[in-house]
Assembly symmetry: C2
Homo-oligomer: 553 residues x 2
């Protein structure tokens, strides 16, 4: 799998999805091109999906919010006759390396979360109209929608057959959403997850696996009717005009570097390290949201979010040997705050809301990245407001203290803004500052008084905002030694440690999916009973069941 996976696409390139816009309703059709797999060796039969299908879906959801703010209800449905979606492609899974499987699941999970976020953050509701078999990842797609309608015919059912059929879990949120979103009684969930053929009709409704079961003859009409009802009940503003997400400005270098307009990714393969340089604004902040909307996708806050998001995804999937991600910023912190302030001053504006909500998702993506994350707060940097969040998203931060010989850049500072106190909650529903100061919540309260103050190293250290401050004498050696040491540790131990240390405090459905469910799935993805020569995944389609070692752990 040496080919580079590209997370950028647009409707003109879609092979698997299409959207028909009907005013405030969007009909979203999954119609997977069997021969459009991202890799060779499998066909995407029966509306099964691979990462390529999901990249398109993520693009659909993203564009729905930015380009089609007029849409209030999205109806997810199948473009094929007899099948809704049969889930992740098994041959793809059986042939994929462990690391690809894990990253594939993570990305699909993140994309599923965006359906729920679309309603929670923007009032754009996803409903799922299930006709035909809806199995495994197919039902997980439905579960991530906020209203599930099932037709009542002889072949339409919902199912999570992973456990009996494949000896793996419904790992794209399936188990968690069944218990915690649909709140299905636990023994019923147990039965449901053990039945290959799934559950249909009245029982699916009785067990709350779907919200509505509709006679087949009335299904299509009822779906449209329900969509109209949801539109009528929606609190989302009407008549909004979108912003086109034009292609991002991106160049790949032969050495693996990636240059965007505001982000530069450079690699040091020997050191196992990728450095992500984020640049401050290259222009003045627009006067207001109208001016920002006129700037469209080129406006700093949106452009940077898109570039950073792409850089993270690129490194996750395409540069798996690099265990360290080092964030640096360079630019004018005042300007960052000025751009951000336009959004914060008019949060009810739909585009301001969308850009801030997108930053929330991008920062969650950083939190969830299975690499050791480090921020360097160097002179000339611009960790202010939204960019300061990176300091508490990473595992550690190092900050320059005092003058450095021959360095004429402005002294390193950290500047808080209002946005650090609630605009970008983590997946545990706390802010990064609340999570950081879980034991001393009074520190968060005290920090509110320091909004707008550019804190130099000593002040930032005293306030607990950075891990360590270092002067000119120590900086190079200390940072180098830390990075070298970190790069020498077992990447698996790092993954496990970081997954545990990053998410203190309360859990949510989201943290449970990425913590508990994903961890167990990854464990199973290592077990011979699933992935060994005679395991269920390998034997799938041969007519033989997996040959299991029955020892329990």
């Amino acid at each position: 799998m040496a080919q580079r996976i590209d997370f950028q696409t647009d409707p003109s390139r879609y092979r698997h999805w299409r959207v028909e816009y009907d005013g405030e309703i969007a009909n979203l059709y999954m119609d997977v091109d069997e021969n459009g797999g991202l890799f060779d060796g499998y066909q995407l039969k029966l509306n099964s999906y691979d990462l390529g299908v999901d990249i398109e879906l993520a693009d659909v959801v993203q564009r729905m919010r930015f380009e089609h703010p007029e849409v209030k209800v999205v109806i997810m449905q199948s473009g094929k006759e007899k099948v809704f979606c049969s889930g992740a492609n098994i041959r793809m899974l059986a042939g994929a390396a462990h690391a690809h499987k894990v990253n594939f699941c993570k990305f699909t999970n993140e994309t599923r979360n965006t359906f729920e976020a679309a309603e929670a953050d923007s009032g754009q509701k996803y409903i799922c109209a299930v006709k035909g078999a809806c199995a495994g990842g197919g039902y997980e797609l439905a579960l991530a929608c906020n209203y599930i309608m099932l037709t009542d015919d002889s072949s339409s059912s919902v199912a999570l057959p992973e456990v009996p059929l494949l000896a793996v879990l419904p790992g794209t949120g399936g188990l968690t959403r069944v218990t915690d979103k649909r709140k299905v009684r636990r023994d019923r969930a147990d039965i449901f997850c053990s039945i290959e053929e799934g559950i249909k009709g009245k029982r699916a409704r009785d067990w709350n696996l779907v919200d509505e079961v509709i006679p087949n003859a009335k299904f299509d009409d009822t779906v449209q009717e329900r969509a109209k009802e949801f539109v009528a009940a929606s609190g989302k503003a009407s008549g909004l005009k979108g912003v086109e997400l034009t292609p991002i400005d991106r160049t790949f270098g032969d050495d693996g570097s990636v240059t965007y307009s505001l982000v530069e990714v450079t690699l040091d393969r020997d050191a196992g390290k990728a450095t992500i340089l984020i640049k401050g604004p290259d222009g003045d902040a627009p006067a207001d949201m109208a001016a920002m909307q006129a700037e469209g996708a080129s406006t700093y806050m949106l452009r940077l979010a898109r570039e950073l998001d792409d850089a993270i995804l690129h490194l996750r999937l395409n540069e798996r040997q690099l265990g360290l991600m080092v964030f640096t910023t360079q630019g004018d912190p005042e300007k960052v705050l000025a751009h951000e302030a336009v959004l914060l001053a008019d949060k009810d504006n739909w585009l301001a809301n969308e850009i801030l909500a997108y930053w929330k998702r991008v920062l969650k993506r950083v939190d969830m990245t299975s690499r050791s994350l480090v921020a360097l707060v160097e002179h000339g940097s611009c960790y202010a407001g939204v960019l300061a969040e990176l300091l508490w998203s990473v595992d550690r931060s190092y900050m320059m203290e005092g003058e450095f010989d021959g360095d004429n850049r402005p002294l390193a500072t950290v500047t808080l803004s209002e946005s650090n106190f609630g605009t970008f909650p983590m997946s545990n529903d706390l802010t990064r500052l609340q999570t950081r100061f879980l034991g001393t919540p009074e520190d968060v309260v005290a920090l509110k008084d320091r909004i707008g103050e550019p804190m130099e190293a000593e002040a930032a250290d005293e306030a607990g905002l950075v891990t360590m401050i270092l002067d000119d004498i120590d900086w190079d050696d200390e940072v180098r030694i830390f990075l070298e040491e970190r790069a020498s540790f077992s990447p698996d131990a790092m993954t496990g440690m970081e997954a545990n240390l990053r998410f203190a405090g309360p859990e949510t459905m989201e943290t449970r999916i990425f913590g508990r469910l994903t961890a167990w799935q990854n464990w199973i993805f290592q077990r011979p009973n699933a992935v060994g020569e005679d395991g269920a995944l390998r034997r799938y389609g041969t007519g033989k069941r997996g040959d299991y070692n029955m020892e329990r752990v």
Copy 2:
């Protein structure tokens, strides 16, 4: 590891721990016998531990509560000069099968939780007096105590060196208690977990890794002084006389069966199944708690808890090929309720409190058991009050409906008691009924009105208390088919599925330890970077570090 692991012990057999009772203070010394390992092939140097050491510790904690209710403060300390405890024995871990590692960690985790439970449920406070190196599982022992005192000398420190040294996690609650109990700032936790040599002195206090750092010369006196202060501040009743935990009545059969006075374990190895028959009371309930105390360890409610606990542990560790645990009961439900009622009527009585709290732990042990759990509610059964909890601890329950040909036993019933509404919370801090009816909390409220009503099959089914009811025609086939099917599934997929479905709703430190932390640890315990030929665990002690594949997942 074919030898049978025995979870029963008593002070006369201890090799690794000793307790000196000093009125309301107990001095608990860890003084591991190097040559007292449970298995061959390793020495328990530097106060390192294996499962055998932990079985003794669990016995100490249990006896402290039942035999020594006069104790208000337990001081955990080392009986060796230079070391507090160096954690789980690495050679043991390196040589152990995956399933043993996982079960070892689970049992040690459960034992750690009992320190916290001792204070929460009985006001018996564990403080930890750390002199000498306190590393890995040693510090995890300390973390499970509720007050940590560290001496300030050149060699005493606390450390979690698992990640840098062994490429595994501090998996006995370490990472979770650092972030969620001690609430250590996340980047500091990251540093702490990356430093082999650990942290000592003032910094350990500043980072809240310990509660107090004391000059070495004053250490012993200060520890005793602090213990006396805690005794003085304790709300625990004084002058209580304990109950001796006499040996349980247990016989092993050649076929693997185990017969206790109230529990019978029978095995069907071909079917991968262990059946646990629980018998109702063999005598009348004592008149009151004074009479129950006079019965001592032989009183029904205590005797049954001890026998069931032992049976579960025995099956977990010694019968790992049996993936199914089937619970049945036989006896008079009224008598079960009568015995339970003596406890519930006098909950403030120390022994009533202890027995109920012990049942809470036993039921949590059932919840946490990595086997498919089934309850059969047959005619003549006694699922009432505390025993009814089993119905909602298991994955599924099947209940007999109506008369069965030739079966003269009383019709199967389920009877709720007051205890089902708060006495035995799960590790998620909800009752089993609350967890079961997460989506319909009003059902729990309605059930309160039915306390004491023996519900036959139809009523129990309508109330949602059992999974399925079956009449004489269907019972044998349906139950057999289910058990056969279940036994045919991948045990790993079952483990993962059950770990996710059993714990809907909120998370607590306990569920995070068993869910998130354990799952990641188990994943790492499969990874070549830890357990492969050149992995860190195997190479430990050779002077060579692990040779890692640096790919991140």
